[in-house]
């Protein structure tokens, strides 16, 4: 659950961008970092290899503003996507309040998406979290590539979106879908703190 400070009226949520290697998780954070005013964001921390692949995690703290009288902050993390970094993925996933799964829309990456999604479910289960209980948004990235190279969102929905969670097409390099994904996940995460309807 998000951390709530009743004394200073602050809410902090941990949001994790998960997905296969090179699907665009870090690009999401870089775009957000570039668009958000400096006074509303902290330093972006990137623990990367020499070839700029995420080694441990990327981290970007954001100050959203006041929601229902509570100053609301997001901690955005990415996990390393490469298969062999599973130990670090598990560590970053600890205590996540919500996940944006960034899928690579290229047809040739179809199996990588499935493998990463299964890996997400397994790692959550190891921590006693049922993926069905966790706020989740699917982002189908690289939809700007030529149509013959990619799968359309309905096809990706068929493969990944069993729970009918929000799914959004994106082009994270240029920003399309980035804001919408964060918005969709934020709403799901904060709904858990709201008075039941």
């Amino acid at each position: 659950m998000p951390l709530v400070n009743f004394t200073t009226r602050e809410i902090t949520c941990k949001l994790v961008y998960y997905g296969p290697g090179r699907s665009g998780k870090t690009s999401n954070l870089l775009y957000i970092h570039g668009r958000v005013p400096e006074h509303r964001r902290g330093t972006m921390v990137s623990l990367a290899t020499q070839s700029d692949r995420t080694l441990f995690f990327d981290f970007l703290p954001l100050e959203l503003g006041v929601i229902s009288g509570f100053t609301t902050r997001f901690q955005l993390y990415t996990v390393p996507g490469q298969v062999y970094y599973n130990a670090t993925r598990r560590l970053v996933l600890q205590g996540a309040d919500g996940v944006v799964f960034v899928a690579d829309s290229q047809a040739r990456r179809f199996d990588d998406n499935l493998e990463s999604f299964q890996n997400l479910q397994e790692n959550l289960l190891d921590q006693g979290v049922d993926i069905r209980q966790l706020p989740l948004v699917l982002q189908y990235n690289k939809q700007d590539l030529p149509a013959d190279l990619i799968l359309a969102p309905p096809d990706l929905d068929d493969a990944l979106n069993f729970r009918a969670v929000p799914s959004l097409p994106a082009d994270a390099l240029h920003g399309s879908g980035v804001f919408e994904s964060l918005k969709a996940l934020s709403a799901l995460v904060l709904q858990r703190l709201a008075v039941p309807r």
Binding site: P37, S68, S186
Partner: protein, 153 residues
């Protein structure tokens, strides 16, 4: 000093006075800040908490992979400053501490008073958890406005 819940403040104030530490951060094992002293910007605190939790998690995992007993503390000693990172158990779950100290004190003193801090936190923790429902039912328009403003839309 800022703390998530008031009962953390007195033990932490005692630790700061006795250990002479410069910066102190208490956080959950997932890197969420519980209390802090000495930082100037809340956003910097969050980055420090994320990195501290990452270091301790990686150290614990390294020990597990190598078949070593759990490693719950790490110390980095620089020329002018040192960092002490330690995991501990409280009635509220597993927490982590990050302490930055200078030449006015020592790693040994920091460790000694940190152990006392852990004991005092254990005694001070109230049994009841705070209420969870905090936001108004109609928070979403405010959320959308805040996100829109954040992204300049």
């Amino acid at each position: 000093m800022r703390a998530l819940e008031p009962w953390v403040e007195a033990p932490l104030a005692g630790f700061l006075a006795e250990s002479d530490a410069r910066l102190t951060l208490l956080m959950t094992s997932s890197g969420q800040v519980i209390a802090q002293h000495g930082f100037t910007r809340s956003l910097d605190v969050m980055a420090a908490a994320a990195l501290g939790a990452g270091i301790l998690a990686a150290t614990s995992e390294l020990a597990r992979v190598m078949g070593l007993p759990p490693l719950d503390a790490v110390a980095h000693q620089g020329k002018l400053l040192g960092i002490y990172l330690a995991a501990f158990t409280t009635p509220r779950g597993r927490w982590l501490g990050l302490v930055v100290y200078g030449r006015e004190t020592s790693l040994g003193l920091v460790q000694l008073f940190f152990e006392r801090l852990v004991e005092e936190l254990g005694r001070a923790a109230p049994a009841e958890l705070p209420a969870r429902q905090v936001l108004a039912e109609d928070f979403e328009p405010e959320l959308n406005r805040s996100l829109g403003a954040l992204f300049g839309r």
